[in-house]
Symmetry: C2
Subunit: 383 residues, 2 copies
Amino acid sequence: MNDKQMLMIPGPTPVPARVLQAMAKHPIGHRSGAYNAIQAEVTAHLKWLHQTEHDVMALTVSGTGAMEAGIINFLSPGDRVITCCNGKFGDRWAEICTAYGLNVEKVTAEWGKPLNPDDVRAKLQADTAKDIKAVILTHSETSTGVLNDLEAINAAVKEHGTALIMVDAVTSLGAISVPIDAWGLDVVASGSQKGYMIPPGLGFVAVGPKAWAAYETATLPRYYLDLGKYRKATAKDTTPFTPPVNLVFALQAALQMMREEGLEAIFARHARHQKATRAAVQALGLATLGADDCASPAVTAVMPTQVDAEAIRKTMNQKFDIALAGGQDHLKGKLFRIGHLGFVCDRDIITAIAALEATLQNLGCEITPGAGVGAAAAVFAQG
Amino acid sequence: MNDKQMLMIPGPTPVPARVLQAMAKHPIGHRSGAYNAIQAEVTAHLKWLHQTEHDVMALTVSGTGAMEAGIINFLSPGDRVITCCNGKFGDRWAEICTAYGLNVEKVTAEWGKPLNPDDVRAKLQADTAKDIKAVILTHSETSTGVLNDLEAINAAVKEHGTALIMVDAVTSLGAISVPIDAWGLDVVASGSQKGYMIPPGLGFVAVGPKAWAAYETATLPRYYLDLGKYRKATAKDTTPFTPPVNLVFALQAALQMMREEGLEAIFARHARHQKATRAAVQALGLATLGADDCASPAVTAVMPTQVDAEAIRKTMNQKFDIALAGGQDHLKGKLFRIGHLGFVCDRDIITAIAALEATLQNLGCEITPGAGVGAAAAVFAQG
C-alpha cells in the first residue's frame, strides 16, 4: 500500500514525526548565531551519547565516509594495521586501508561468528617491535547480526600499548553502551540513519587524545575528511564546510528525544527487542545466523530452510508493507535481516513477528500460529 | 522575528515548500525498487541540467567534497596542475591540491577581478612538454561575486590538448548556462544548496570521457570519494554508499520544478536578478566589487563607503529579517553579499532592495528613497 511501508531494516531506520517536522523547516544560514546555538547543543548531546568528554564531530557523509575519516587521519602510507573481518563491513575497512596504501593484516572469523579476541591478542603480542599502528574493527556487524566483543579486543589493544583502536560503531552506537572514555576507545565512527533515528546524510567521528597525538604526524592525504578542521570548527560551534542544515535540525530533535528517554532505557529497549526477535524467530523454527551470546542489538539475521529468504522478504513487503533487509555478498538470497534499531517500540516487534508468521503461512511453511508472537510476548512479560 | 528570516545569501538558498514537503516524507530503504526509480529519474534530470550525455553523480558531501572528488580521481601524486585563484574558493582548490601532493602552479587575479584567460593560455603554451595535467578553476567566485570567463579559459585548455579542465560550478550551475558537452568540460562540481533549491548535503560531479580515461591511471588514494564506484552504481540506478534519502526526495521535487520552468527561463531569471540587483545598489551610491561585465549570476558583493558593511548586515537581519552574507577572509567586514540564486523571484529582489534602502536610512546614510527599487523596477520593466 502506498506510503504505508514500515522499515525493519538496519538503516535507514524509522524516523519520529517530531524529527521529520524539524527537518522540514526552512534552512537557516549556517554562518549565523542561530546556527551556532544549535551546533553547541548538538555537540553537547553527542558527547553525552558517546559517553566522552573528548571530541565528537559531525561530517556530511555516509557511515563509510565517517569510518574512512576515522582511519586516514591517524595513519601514514605503509603503516601496519590489523583489520578485523567477519562480515561485509569489516571487509570494507580493509579495502579502505588497501586503497590508502596501508600494510593490512587481517584477523578473520567466518561470517556469522564473532571475532576471537585471542586472535587479535596473538598478533599484537607477536609485535614486539610495536609497529602495529592500529586495530580496526566493526562492533556490530550489520551484514550478519553479530556483535563483536569490543571490550575484550580493546583490552588486547591496551596490553599492546601503542596501537590505536578504531571502531565502526555504525549499528551499535545508540543501541548498546559504547563507553568511549571508560574503555579508552581512540576512534569511534557512526552514521545518522541508525540509532540516531534520523535520515542518512550525517556521519559522526569521536576522537580521543591518543588519536589526536597520532594525527600530528600522520601523513595520509585528506582535506574534506580532515578531522583537524572539524575539531577546530566544532570548538567554535561551527563547521569547516557547509553542514546539511536540515539534517542538523533533525539531529537536534532526535538527540532531545534520546536525552528524554535516557541512555540506560535506550540500551534496555534494544536488548529487549533483540531478545524478543530472536526468541520469536527461533520459536517459528527459523535459524538465526550467529549465536545468542554474540547477537547484535541492532539486527537479527535469519536463515530460513523450508522456504526461500527472498520469497519471505517479498511477501512481507508486498502483503504486509514491511521492509526487511536481504543478505549481502555471498549470503545474498540465503538470509533475511530484521532491523530493530533506533525508533522501534515493543509493538513494532510484535507487528513484524505477526506479519512474519502470516508470511510463513502464506508460503506454505508448517508453523504453529502464535508461536512467534507468544515467544516475543514472553520476553516482554519479563519487563 | 522568529521563523521569518528570508535568505538572500549565496547558500543555503531559499527552498520551495514543495521541496520541503517532499523532504519531510518518511525515508524509504535505499536498496529497493522504489528508490531505484527515484534515482533513475533524478539522474536523467541531472544530465538535462548539466547539458551532458555523460555521467553526473550525486555524493553525500558539501560542495567542497564534490570538488575534492572532482580533482583527486583524475590525478596522481606530483602531477603538475594549474589552479586559478581570484577568491576564497579558488584558493581552497589550491589547498586541496597541495594537501594531496600535487605540483601546484597558481594563476591569480586580485579578489574582485576576473581571471585573465591569457594568463592561463601563456602557462599552457609554455608547456611544450605537455605535462600540465589539469587546469582547475572556479566559475562563479562566491566570495567576490565575480564570474570567470570559463568559455575563454576552456578554449585555452583545449588548445593545449592534453590538460583536463576541472570546474567549480557550485554557484553557477543552475544559474547560468554551463554547456558541458558543447564546451567539452571534463569535470564539473556543484552543491545542492545553491541553484538546485534544496538544503545542503548533496554534491554533484559531472565527468566526461577524457577525465574517465585519466581515471584509469590516476593513483591518488580515494575510497568514499572514488567516482568510479559512483559511476558503476549510478548506471544501475543505485548508490555505492547509503544516500541521504530525504535529500534525494527533495532533489527529485526540485528538479521537477526546474524542468517545468525550463533552462532558458531559469538562466534569464538569474541574469535579470543580477542586473536588477547591481543597478539598484549602484543607484543607491554603493560600489559593487567587480565590474558589471564579469558579474556573477548568483551573488552581488557590495562595498559600502558611508557606513560599515557589518552594520548594514546587522540592521537588515534584525529589523527586516533578511540574511545577507558578509565578506570572507581579508574582506571580512569590508563588504556584504546579496545572494540571488535558486528559488528567487523578482519580488524577492524588490524586497531586499527596499529593505536595504530602509536600512541605509536607518543608519543615517544620505540616499534618495526609492532610487534602488526604481532602478530594479526599470530592469524588470525591460522584461
